[in-house]
Amino acid sequence: MAGTLPSAAGSAVVIPPGLHPGAAGTNRAALADPPLIRWLLIGLSLAFLGLFVALPISAVFVEALRKGLSAYVDAIAEPETRAAIRLTLLTAIISVPLNLIFGVTAAWLISKYRFPGKSALITLIDLPFSVSPVISGLVFVLLLGARGVLGPWLEAHDIHIIFAVPGIILATTFVTFPFVAREVLPIMQDLGNDEEEVALTLGASGWQILFQITLPKVRWGLLYGVVLCNARAMGEFGAVSVVSGHIRGLTNTVPLQVEILYNEYNMVAAFAVASILTLLALGTLGAKKVVEAHQHQG
């Protein structure tokens, strides 16, 4: 080592022997990795994504179509599967709009006003992300189940939530709670409140500002938040599995139906139903690309 120079960042840059400052060759070449390293890193990336993403996705469709297209269609048209699809749609139709309204309200609250406890509120909104899906289901069983805190009261009034459809909707709403708020909040914060405040001085009401200025500004992020929320609502397994009770044709959602078919060694049907959920996931990723393209356009 010929010597060291203290750099602005405080760390020292070592100058190898035979080189003096300014003699390192072209800067661009110095920024590029050697071809061997490039190909190694690209190879590792492709292998990793191939193994963990491309292969599993391919396996779903190959297994689903193993016995031909008619077996695939038969598996999906089965009455229990159709009932599962209906229940999944019902769950999403209730929980997604609830979380949409909440997400917009919470993002508005956090981005438009100054108040104490804001960062604590953001942490609480994120909480369902950090709780295991199994615990997300368990809390509702402990609160509303037959032996739960409110169980005896619900029993007395003949209200059934756990091992019934309302429990599935509640658990799904809990799990998908942060999605819309999480997508919309950073965008609202980034875009600032200048236009809203101008509209206010021009005499616009709060609702006019929300619907004619703020929501159009954040529409692509909002759309993506709804798509993500919907994907999770339709695909949730752990939390729903704990509260559902697995009553066939009544409290089975699509992911639970996949599990039942799989455990019965009905592989073609299990993968056929799984392929519907895979298409939903691929559609979600496509929606993300569309939203990103629009956001970059401004």
């Binding site: 750099s7 960042a9 840059v13 070592v14 100058i15 003096h20 400052p21 300014g22 800067n27 110095a30 920024l31 990795d33 890193l41 690209i42 990336s45 492709l46 990793f48 994504l49 963990f52 993403v53 292969l55 599993p56 396996a59 779903v60 309200t105 919470a106 609250l109 438009k112 006003y113 108040f115 942490t123 909480l127 950090s130 295991s132 899906p133 199994v134 615990i135 368990l138 809390v139 069983v141 402990l142 609160l143 805190v149 809990f174 809203e196 206010l200 709060g206 994907a231 339709m234 695909g235 949730e236 397994f237 752990g238 704990v242 992911p255 996949v258 799984a274 959920l277 895979t278 993300k288």
Partner: protein, 292 residues
């Protein structure tokens, strides 16, 4: 007389001042009310239910459930599995983020989209798909099993599923930081004669370190709580391949509510500790970003 006039006007001034401190837009009360009510009903009251149930347990019940050999084995399996998966995701996530940010590749958009798949794919689907790949007759298992490498229905299967669910986190936290790094810093280092390896170690790595650790912690937390994809591939043998979330479900199915509650409490504490660590790391990341 003068005092009577002054009193309301000072109250009014205080109200206006308070309002302008919050910001000029209307709707504070309504949005605060809706947010807190909904947060309370959907998240806080259910979580409080867990606390109430825990309070009704005796210390003895709690300790027996938490410290049973089966529970201890499950903690070990979950912790070691999540740790291994997070290490793999840390290494490959860094490589992937580097390739996606720095290299020109045909089809890079597709690679970038593939990274998000584990976020979007339902865990049950991931579970049966990975199991199909790694069973002894599966696409990959048929080459591994003859060499004595058992993945499905064994601990490696748990790690595979955990790697899958945690895959996007490191890439998505490191990628924006790499994009923000000013290439002139590397050019300056190179001009001053620093080797490429030295520049990577002393310029790039310190910049991405907070993001890398945040991604690592997020991937670890996600793997620790994961249930759906693991139950298909792990084989679910008590003491051998039983993860903590599965043990909770098993206890619930046996109507052992105290046991399920006690173990859930341990998991919840671990999650909150991780949440605290992740928040601190993100604070560190934000401060670093501010200095640049």
């Amino acid at each position: 007389m003068g005092a009577e006039v002054a009193a309301p006007s000072s109250a009014l001034r205080a109200r206006v001042r308070r309002k302008s401190n919050r910001g000029p837009l209307p709707g504070f009360g309504l949005s605060l009310g809706v947010t807190l009510t909904y947060l309370g009903l959907i998240v806080l009251i259910p979580l409080a239910g867990l606390a109430v149930k825990t309070a009704s347990l005796t210390g003895d019940q709690l300790w027996t459930a938490i410290s049973s050999p089966r529970a201890l084995a499950a903690y070990r399996i979950s912790f070691l599995g999540a740790l291994s998966a997070a290490v793999v995701n840390g290494l490959f996530g860094l490589v992937l983020a580097w390739v996606l940010v720095r290299y020109r590749l045909p089809g890079k958009g597709l690679l970038d989209a593939m990274v998000d798949l584990p976020f979007a794919l339902p865990t049950a689907v991931a579970g049966i798909a990975l199991t199909a790949l790694f069973t002894e007759s599966g696409w990959l298992g048929q080459f591994l099993e003859p060499h004595g490498i058992k993945v499905a229905f064994a601990p490696p299967g748990i790690v595979i599923a955990m790697i899958f669910v945690g895959l996007p986190f490191v890439v998505r936290t490191v990628q924006p930081v790499l994009m923000d790094i000013d290439p002139t810093m590397e050019e300056v280092a190179a001009t001053l004669g620093a080797s490429r390896a030295y520049t990577l170690r002393r310029v790039i790595l310190p910049s991405v370190m907070p993001a890398l650790l945040t991604g690592f912690a997020l991937a670890f937390a996600r793997a620790l709580g994961e249930y759906g994809s693991i139950v298909f591939i792990s084989g679910n043998m008590p003491m051998k391949t039983e993860i903590v979330p599965l043990l909770i479900v098993t206890k619930l199915e046996q109507y052992d509510y105290p046991g399920a509650t006690a173990i859930a409490l341990v998991m919840l504490m671990a999650s909150f500790a991780l949440l605290f660590i992740i928040n601190s790391l993100q604070g560190w990341m934000a401060r670093r970003g501010g200095h640049r």
